[in-house]
């Protein structure tokens, strides 16, 4: 599985960078995130209840941030384990660049693999589901860092 995307976020690069490293912001932006804990500067542990169509499974997610180049880019490594649903591993390269009007252009590229039952029966849907999750995440992230959006 491989995908890439680009989002324009109307906030300064430093703000976007800070938010990308803030477990509270990340937890708010991941649909179904039940807990998010910071274990070290560069490591997070999360529990996520994923819902895609008929599938509703809880996953333990271990996130590690590497190749940190603030406020430009980092690499996010994720290891995902489901109790019974299977497992996955992915690497996301996230890069920030200045856009016009003080906005920030965020681009990402994800390479991932899934195994176990999820791969057996979900193969036909994994790419679409991953794309939807990325879109949902970044649109929530957009709201979370947009200074014109009132905090809810």
């Amino acid at each position: 599985m491989e995908q890439a995307g680009e989002y324009r976020i109307p906030a300064e690069r430093a703000v976007v960078w800070r938010s990308l490293n803030d477990p509270a912001v990340l937890a708010r932006c991941i649909d179904g995130c039940q807990s998010m804990e910071q274990l070290a500067d560069d490591r997070f542990a999360a529990t996520v209840k994923a819902r895609v169509g008929p599938v509703r499974a809880t996953f333990d997610v271990a996130l590690t941030l590497t190749d940190m180049r603030p406020p430009e880019s980092y690499v996010l490594e994720a290891e995902v384990k489901g109790k019974t649903a299977g497992f996955g591993k992915g690497t996301a390269e996230v890069a920030l660049a200045d856009a016009d009007d003080g906005a920030t252009l965020l681009s990402y590229r994800v390479v991932g693999r899934v195994g176990g039952k999820l791969a057996q029966i979900g193969a036909r849907l994994i790419d679409s589901a991953a794309r939807k999750m990325a879109d949902d995440f970044f649109s929530a992230f957009h709201q979370a860092v947009d200074p014109t959006t009132k905090p809810s």
């Binding site: 599938v55 019974t84 039952k117 057996q120 029966i121 193969a123 036909r124 679409s128």
Partner: protein
């Protein structure tokens, strides 16, 4: 499969109340998506609420220019129905081409639409036949119903009761089936309402959609060649191990042209 509570309500109101009070409930219709997911433990609902036997969800009736099908009607019943055959034969053909005999004997039209699998057949018909999705609390036009990958306008505890299809002068459905599952890699229904043509597309993107430029071209002239240069619908095309996005885009036009050719033959 994990343990769960099984309920068989005798009214819609009771079904909704059971759903409201359960911890992690799921409605059970034909079960041909939900049960395999549960046996794989990719879903572990605490309570299954079986909708079989609710009279509001059964029966097929054609009245005026509307064909009304109860949500619990199984695919095989739609395929074999004299009312469907005589009013919208393309819909009976579509039902006959879903999955295999086991799926057709258990799966239901309401279950299919509630699930809104991106490759399911019925969503293309719901859009092409300008369907109205009736639920326990309201009616939803098909055009407002499909929202995204497995996402519909339905609320969490809402139950589809009937689907009212507008009866066209003529319609045809063509799909490029996955040879193993017979899911639509791409499926297109073309329906002619006295010269106004509607086109429903499934399998191509996150959810079913219409093809506006195809509809305009066919409303001007019902001819496969009219689609040669018509703009494809603006779809974020699916890509998976069965078909790339480019291939699906290609199939949308080809399936639409084949369906149009059958429409021409039939009229």
């Amino acid at each position: 499969m994990d343990a769960f509570n099984y309920h068989k309500p005798s009214s819609l109101a009771e079904a909704v109340a059971l759903h409201r009070d359960a911890e992690d409930p799921a409605y059970l219709s034909g079960g041909h998506t939900l049960l395999p997911t549960m046996t794989q433990r990719l879903a572990t609902p605490s309570d299954l609420i079986d909708l079989e036997g609710l009279t509001e969800l059964t029966g097929i009736a054609a009245e005026g220019r509307t064909l009304s099908i109860g949500a619990f009607t199984r695919h095989a019943e739609v395929a074999a129905s004299a009312e469907v055959r005589s009013t919208v034969p393309a819909l009976a053909d579509l039902a006959e081409g879903i999955g295999d005999a086991q799926v057709r004997n258990r799966g239901t039209i309401g279950g299919s639409l509630a699930n809104s699998d991106p490759s399911a057949d019925y969503p293309a018909a719901a859009l092409a036949l300008n369907a109205v999705i009736r639920t326990d609390r309201r009616q939803i036009a098909a055009d407002d119903y499909f929202r995204g990958l497995f996402e519909t306008a339905l609320e969490e505890d809402e139950i589809i009761t009937r689907i009212d299809f507008a009866i066209p002068s003529c319609a045809a459905y063509e799909k490029f089936p996955n040879p193993a599952s017979r899911y639509a890699t791409v499926g297109v229904m073309v329906a002619d309402f006295n010269g106004t043509v509607r086109v429903g597309v499934t399998g191509a993107g996150p959810c079913a959609c219409r093809a506006p430029a195809f509809e305009a071209a066919l409303s001007a002239r019902v001819d496969p060649a009219a689609l040669d240069d018509a703009e494809l619908p603006a779809i974020d095309f699916n890509s998976d191990l069965h078909a790339s996005a480019e291939y699906r885009a290609h199939l949308v036009r080809v399936m639409a042209q084949r369906a149009t050719a059958r429409l021409v033959e039939a009229s």
